[in-house]
Amino acid sequence: MRTFYATFYSHFGAIRFKRLCDGLGIPASLMPVPRSLSSSCGTCVRFEAESFEEAAASRSEEMEQIAEPSGEGFVTLFRAEHA
């Protein structure tokens, strides 16, 4: 199981995604965006899955990016268009 972080353009986008993960049985929690992931200070969802595509398949227009922890920082796996 891998851990991913999804960031959003709005707090409610994160809430909606968390609900979606709950519905899919994906362990997920809401938290502030880690500083090493972004200079923005919104809400992100940390979730655990075999692959990020599983959750990203249902991504909304509110989703900004999905990243995976790597060493001290993060590797971005998905980024919204024109972000």
Partner: protein
């Protein structure tokens, strides 16, 4: 994570010391830093309002934006972004200023006032927290000003460039820029411009690295029981208080005087101190950050925050042109009407951007 916490506490402590030392070096008492007051002074210097006591291009504001700008460039975090309801943000910025000039200070100065013993700021803090709670209610119900988009590359450079022009105007002091006469009011009190500029740049750079934000700090406590961001402001308060005590002992002039009456650039009308900061807290959550945070985001290239800065600037001019700004004698009738209208406008913006048909 612990490293993040340590960094933000250390940054807050440095900022608190800077805020107090600026008073020693010439800034008004309990006003080492105030984003709202300093933007208001800048608006006056540009002739956008003609309130003679509050006209000076404050280098601290220039420094914060340019400090954040340089730090963001250095860390490759600068990006021209925008397009998230800019006019709504302008209006919210306008009313943030109306609330700030009712209370006589932004959230940053609220903490600085507390560290100077001004107990009127306690009521401001209660109001601010109430405004944050109201904003969080709407966040949880679906409030959003929609996403930002990558803009034309130069768009994010506009406000930092304007700040450089302001700096040139400050130093060159041409006749068409207004400066409060010595002894003529709060804007006549200021540290040497280079010191103020450097102080602002340090604060801007530190706030960019740590995302320091009073509204965000309280929001994170309510939403996640996460205390990281607010610890920065607790550190600002602690460091400013300790520095004030030390400065008082060293100079023989009290820098901390606990009480309500007779506080510098403050009034004792508790209800309107509370309501003014309620408006600021509410609008700041709808904007996604307090005035300091808006300046920092402006430096990172966020055009929406740059529009918010314009809202603050125009709001400040409006408040002084139409008698909305409070003084040491208390709030004005126009100011009270402005705050009530501001709260109503925030409620309307919150509802219109939360309860949208087919958007859930």
């Amino acid at each position: 994570m612990n490293n993040e916490k340590t960094t933000i506490i250390a940054a807050g402590a440095v900022i608190g010391v800077i805020a107090s030392v600026l008073v020693l070096l010439g800034n008004p008492v309990n006003m080492g830093f105030c984003i709202a007051c300093f933007i208001r002074d800048t608006a006056g210097a540009l002739g956008l309002h003609r309130a003679a006591p509050v006209q000076y291009i404050r280098p601290e504001i220039i420094g914060i934006i340019l400090g954040s700008f340089c730090m963001a460039l250095l860390n490759k975090e600068f990006a021209s972004k925008g397009g998230s309801a800019p006019m709504t943000r302008f209006v919210l910025g306008f009313f943030v200023m109306v609330g700030c000039l009712m209370f006589l200070g932004c959230p940053f100065r609220m903490i600085v006032r507390l560290a100077g013993g001004d107990l009127n700021a306690v009521l401001g803090l209660v109001g601010f927290f109430g405004g944050v709670l109201t904003g969080v209610f709407f966040l949880n119900k679906g409030y959003s000003l929609k996403r930002t988009y990558r803009m034309a590359a130069w768009d994010g450079y506009v406000l930092p460039a304007v700040q450089v022009i302001f700096l040139i105007l400050l130093v060159a002091a041409p006749a068409f820029i207004f400066f409060t006469e010595p002894g003529g009011g709060p804007a006549a009190k200021h540290a040497f411009w280079l010191v103020s500029l450097a102080a602002g740049a340090v604060v801007g750079a530190l706030a960019q690295r740590t995302r320091l934000c009073m509204a965000g700090g309280l929001r994170d406590i309510v939403l996640f029981k996460d205390y990281k961001l607010i610890l920065g402001f607790v550190a600002v308060f602690g460091a400013a208080l300790v520095t004030n005590v030390i400065l008082g002992l060293a100079t023989g002039t009290p820098y901390v005087t606990f009480g309500f009456a007779g506080q510098p650039v403050a009034h004792v009308d508790g209800v309107w101190n509370l309501l003014g900061m309620y408006l600021v807290g509410f609008a700041a959550i709808l904007l996604g950050g307090c005035p300091l945070r808006q300046l920092v985001l402006s430096g990172e290239g966020n055009a929406d925050s740059q529009v918010t800065y314009l809202g603050l600037l125009v709001g400040a001019a409006f408040c002084h042109n139409f008698g909305l700004a409070s003084s040491g004698e208390g709030p004005t009738a126009n100011g009270k009407i402005g705050v009530v209208i501001g709260i109503c406008v925030c409620l309307a913006i919150a509802c219109l951007n939360t309860f949208k048909k087919g958007d859930k």
